[in-house]
Symmetry: C2
Subunit: 149 residues, 2 copies
Amino acid sequence: MITMEKVFSHTRQNDSTQTLTKKLRGVGLRATRQRLDIGNLLFSGKDRHVTAESLHDEAVAAGIRISLATIYNALNQFRDAGLLREVLVDPSRTYFDTNTSSHHHFFNVDNGHLTDIPHDEISVSCLPTLPEGQIIDGVDVLIRIKPDA
Amino acid sequence: MITMEKVFSHTRQNDSTQTLTKKLRGVGLRATRQRLDIGNLLFSGKDRHVTAESLHDEAVAAGIRISLATIYNALNQFRDAGLLREVLVDPSRTYFDTNTSSHHHFFNVDNGHLTDIPHDEISVSCLPTLPEGQIIDGVDVLIRIKPDA
DNA sequence: TATTTGTTTAGAATTATTCTAAACTGTTGA
DNA sequence: TCAACAGTTTAGAATAATTCTAAACAAATA
């Protein structure tokens, strides 16, 4: 059977790709095949936490041809552009979070799993005076959890 | 002039060394020359934030002969023993804090400086339910600050 | 479509940290 | 006091995450 999908498959782009292209252009990045592939993995679905390695493994498993260096480049560019947030949990690895809104994390020290805590479920009262001439850039709350007993 | 200090200098230890020795033995570590030297740098004075490199530089500058590997070993052992706390601020470097009590940090993203925030100057209300069977291991609040304007 | 400029990539380089195995030292018990 | 053992230190090698390099390539632009 011949469908319009097939006929135009070499020119048509699906919705997420169009959206992504706009998103990338919006932050001054060219919509290259690699950045679109990474973007599709990251931004189509629920929020995610990834490392360069984990994302590369996932891309490889999905049959996407992309070098690890490109993953590193893209993650750093996405973070600089505000499309991703860096999360500090493990001094030996850099985690990125697709949820860039103000929120916090549970970090399971036993297995390394990271879970979001919605912004409204934690309140930080910040009484301390900031050092002279400084302003707040961001507040991170990390609640380390471990198995009971 | 001959003083008792000099006469017994090969056997006598100063107060901080005696205290340190007890502290180390108390956590099951032998009071070796290297651990005492590091301990003296870390625990005699106000609270400090160090990295392995910074502490090694400091030791070298003070004329202490100690290898970087030993600094790494000692910092990790001290942390495991609860004498130090690891602070997550920079994914490319591990910071240790001599203040092991419950408290939080300002991190100046501009120059990498870390400052303690006393425990009572921040309050975190943790409404979220913990994942099944998990308990809290610790709560870290990091307030990233930067120069105004 | 030719040119320019930004991007990707393999592989080398870098950096923080850990490992290895040999020399050394603190501790213990006789 | 000292032998013997177990824990410690160390130089240098190894590892692992990340960045760099510079050549090939692709997107934007005129």
